[in-house]
């Protein structure tokens, strides 16, 4: 079967918040195709709950500079501060623009967009949590995704739904397009264009317990890596403190924003010890580590590795009083109105009504701070300072870097809209002048051969077995706390798994129609690549910073490690590491206390 060729100015890969935002803006000046393996509204942006931050100051004083400082501090000073300034300044416009597109934000009594408190977001003068997270109940991501998709329909953007992108066509230092499989019938397609924007989301499925969808397998990052693009800061992966025990389903930080507290087996609000001033609303890496330490010290509920997240009105009001909030008081109805979906999840999956009983939670693999390196216009970097023409990335798969070593809650959605928009505009601009470079002969041959290989490989191992082993080793060795020996073991084991993947794996479904067996097998390859880069980058960084916490190097080491990791895949399959300096601006690194 010969691949079918389509030509568009720009090709957006992925239809989550970032992909749709980019498509919307790019389509104002160029002919855009959005190619996505899921129907757009099924992208994982739809799972985002808590909110999108912007210093609107709708209810109390707030400034974008405060937002920027919080972001930099949250990043453990690894974020590039010029990019952070862009993020926080443009967040205000971007959020207002979403409202103009019809996004149904919750409202304050004065009719303005409602905002709530969120981890790490503070009033810089008082150090107290500030109301910065704009939200639509606890389904903010869902509303962003729906709104953007709706606007794309309105603007008649071209969608290729359920087409899985499996290769990037790069010729020297130019990009010519991508190769995709039409999932429903197995047909290969080549999308020939002037520009490609990757917006494929995260790779949380490298770990066992994760808040990420089954579809988040790091395809975009892996494809870039395989075509010679480095991956930046991959060792920094965020473990969200409050995932439902064993399932990993996320319980938004908004629960704590509304007053919820973490309680150990002794009934103690343990965050008071770890972050005396903002307690349960400390930034995520801090809280996850605290939970880990509590359970390790035997203070997990029933001796197991989980603690309770308690948002029952009695508990919450008790601590409000203790914290001196005289004006705050909540009741059952308030919780139900503000956190309806959370209540639905815990009732469905745990049989727990959060207004009556506490929820069992544990840290869950959540968000990749690293990814495909870009500048503030979404242009992908070939190395520390050269841009590769025609290639862009935005959203979770990209690393601008605004999140550094640890992302603040709500800052991902901001990232999607701000940098999705910027890259969209940049692409529209680029396509105006750029010429369509010819498609090389046989652009799809290599990947088609790879699929034939997977299809026909004989062996006794199923992709699921390899996936389970990878997840086990990543959880065990490259999790919340890390030590050298374990990370090294993970690197070795991942290499062995990759070998197994090539040599011993076989699939059951040999057909062409909607073959999810072969696609899952191929996705596993992407996961293995992302896992390996993560493990290698982690083993290399000999300090603790943000999401990368080491027992053997417990301190942050600005002298040696205030730099970004850039990991390259070499021709021979080995990974090499280089570094990129961090852009420091107004905020000099200092110790991080909450």
């Amino acid at each position: 079967m010969k691949p079918i060729i389509h030509t568009h100015d720009a090709i957006v890969v992925g239809a989550g918040g970032s992909g749709l935002m980019a498509a919307l803006y790019a389509s104002r000046g160029a002919d855009v195709a959005v190619v996505s393996k899921l129907y757009p509204t099924r992208s994982h942006t739809g799972a985002a709950q808590g909110g999108v931050s912007a210093a609107l100051g709708n209810n109390e004083e707030d400034r974008w500079e405060w937002h920027a400082y919080d972001t930099v501090k949250g990043s453990d000073y690894l974020a590039d501060q010029d990019a952070v300034d862009v993020l926080c300044k443009e967040a205000i416009d971007a959020v207002v623009e979403l409202e103009h597109m019809g996004l149904p934000f919750d409202r304050f009594p004065n009719g303005k967009i409602s905002q709530r408190r969120f981890g790490g977001h503070t009033n810089n003068d008082t150090g107290k949590p500030v109301m910065r997270a704009c939200h639509a109940a606890d389904r903010t991501g869902h509303m962003i995704l729906q709104t953007l998709y709706q606007q794309c329909i309105k603007n008649e953007v071209n969608f290729y739904d359920e087409y899985q992108v499996v290769d990037l066509i790069r010729v020297d230092d130019t990009i010519r397009g991508i190769v995709a499989i039409e999932i429903s019938n197995g047909q290969f397609h080549i999308f020939h264009g002037k520009a490609v924007i990757f917006a494929t989301g995260g790779w949380g499925r490298c770990w066992e317990v994760t808040s990420n969808a089954h579809s988040l397998t790091g395809d975009g990052a892996a494809l870039c890596l395989r075509r010679g693009i480095p991956l930046e800061d991959m060792e920094f992966f965020q473990f969200h403190p409050t995932g439902i025990f064993k399932l990993g389903i996320l319980i938004t930080e908004g629960v704590r924003g509304e007053g919820g507290v973490l309680i150990n087996s002794e009934g103690e609000r343990f965050m008071e010890k770890y972050a005396p001033s903002i307690k349960d609303l400390a930034s995520r890496d801090v809280v996850s580590r605290a939970i880990f330490l509590e359970t390790k010290a035997g203070r997990g509920i029933n001796g197991q590795n989980y603690v309770h997240l308690d948002v029952t009105p009695d508990t919450v009001n008790h601590y409000f009083k203790q914290d001196g909030y005289t004006d705050r008081h909540i009741d059952k109805e308030y919780i139900e109105a503000k956190l309806p979906d959370i209540a639905d999840f815990t009732k469905t999956y745990l049989g727990v009504d959060p207004t009556v009983d506490p929820m069992p939670i544990q840290p869950t693999a959540h968000y990749g701070m690293g990814g495909i390196p870009t500048n503030v216009d979404g242009e992908v970097l070939l190395n520390n300072d050269t841009v590769i023409k025609g290639l862009y990335a935005a959203g979770e798969c990209a690393c601008v870097s605004v999140h550094g070593a640890n992302r603040l809650g709500t800052n991902s959605l901001v990232d999607l809209v701000v940098f999705g928009r910027r890259s969209g505009m940049k692409v529209a601009d680029y396509c105006k002048d750029a010429e369509l470079l010819p498609l090389p002969e046989g652009s799809a041959d290599e990947i088609m051969a790879e699929f034939e290989r997977i299809r026909n490989n004989t062996g006794s191992v199923k992709h699921h077995d390899i996936r389970k082993e990878m997840q086990a080793t990543m959880t065990e060795n490259v999790g919340v706390f890390r030590i050298q020996e374990n990370m090294d073991a993970a690197v070795v084991e991942l290499a062995a798994l990759k070998k197994k993947y090539v040599e011993e794996m076989s699939i059951d479904d040999k057909g062409a129609l909607f073959n999810t067996d072969i696609l899952e097998a191929w996705e596993l390859g992407c996961l293995l690549d992302c896992a390996e880069v993560t493990a290698v980058s982690a083993a290399n960084r000999k300090e603790s910073r943000g999401g990368h916490a080491r027992d053997d190097f417990p301190e942050r080491d600005d002298e040696n490690w205030l730099k970004h990791t850039m990991c390259y895949l070499q021709e021979d399959g080995s990974l090499t590491i280089d570094y990129k300096p961090v852009v420091i601006g107004r905020y000099e690194p200092k110790p991080r206390v909450y």
């Binding site: 149904p104 869902h142 089954h214 699939i507």
Partner: protein, 239 residues
């Protein structure tokens, strides 16, 4: 405990006919979802079993299927809800009224076409406020359409509707829910156009108030209520 699953299989490639696949799983827990069980079949027994899924917790709308006779999301249907005892019997089929592509996967295009037909996007060409900030909306006005913003386009409602089974031209409850979301948004200016679309022959009037949609909706949207509100808006000329 054990679970015995009967899954409707169909692979037209090579002229296959629809048939039941029978699978037994050991070590099943009350808290497993049907998606977990289908995954186990796919990963441990037969990799060719085909279904859609993504988020695994009921927010993406990928895995609507007919479980023990009624539409539901596989990832949100726990074994505990389907039976107790040490051998739970579970029957899984694709949703009705859309062409089956393979096994549990149906062609969503007719459904999406209806969705797109109701102008499911915000319309307001007035100038934005002078300060460049957001339009205002009262809490009550926002509440008015809250329920219908929850829709994840899973198609469980439309494919449970006897009117849709009978005639695929019926725009279907999901599209009406989407229209409702905008019609009752105080900021939106496209209400009349949308009302006219669902006022057509195969619009809201095809709804026979059977309530299958409401019962099937995994987001617990009050679907029939929304449809009735649209009917009344047309009838009374007031929204």
């Amino acid at each position: 405990m054990k679970a015995s699953l009967r899954v409707k299989r169909y692979n037209p490639e090579g002229g296959g006919k629809p048939h039941w696949g029978e699978y037994t799983l050991d070590g099943v827990s009350q808290n497993d979802s049907v998606l977990d069980l289908l995954h186990r079949i796919k990963w441990e027994q037969d990799g060719s079993l085909t279904l859609r899924r993504s988020c695994a917790h009921g927010v993406c709308g990928s895995d609507a299927m007919r479980i023990n006779g009624a539409n539901a999301l596989a990832c949100k249907t726990l074994v505990a809800r389907l039976g107790s005892g040490d051998n739970v019997k579970i029957q899984v089929e694709p949703i009705l009224g859309l062409p089956v592509v393979k096994d549990l996967v149906v062609d969503m295009e007719p459904f999406m076409e209806h969705y797109r037909s109701v102008m499911p996007f915000f319309i307001n060409n007035d100038n934005v406020p002078e300060d460049g900030r957001e339009r205002h909306q009262t809490i009550e006005d926002r509440e008015r359409f809250d329920d219908t913003t929850k829709c994840i386009l899973c198609a469980a409602c439309t494919t449970s509707c006897p009117s849709f089974w009978a005639n695929g031209k019926y725009v279907g409850p999901a599209a009406i829910v989407q229209a409702h979301r905008f019609i009752f948004d105080s900021r939106d200016k496209g209400a009349e156009e949308r009302l006219n679309i669902v006022n057509e022959q195969f619009g809201v009037w095809r709804c026979r108030t059977a309530f299958n949609c409401t019962n099937a909706c995994p987001r617990e949207i009050e679907v029939t209520k929304a449809i009735a509100e649209v009917k009344m808006a047309i009838t009374n000329g007031i929204i």
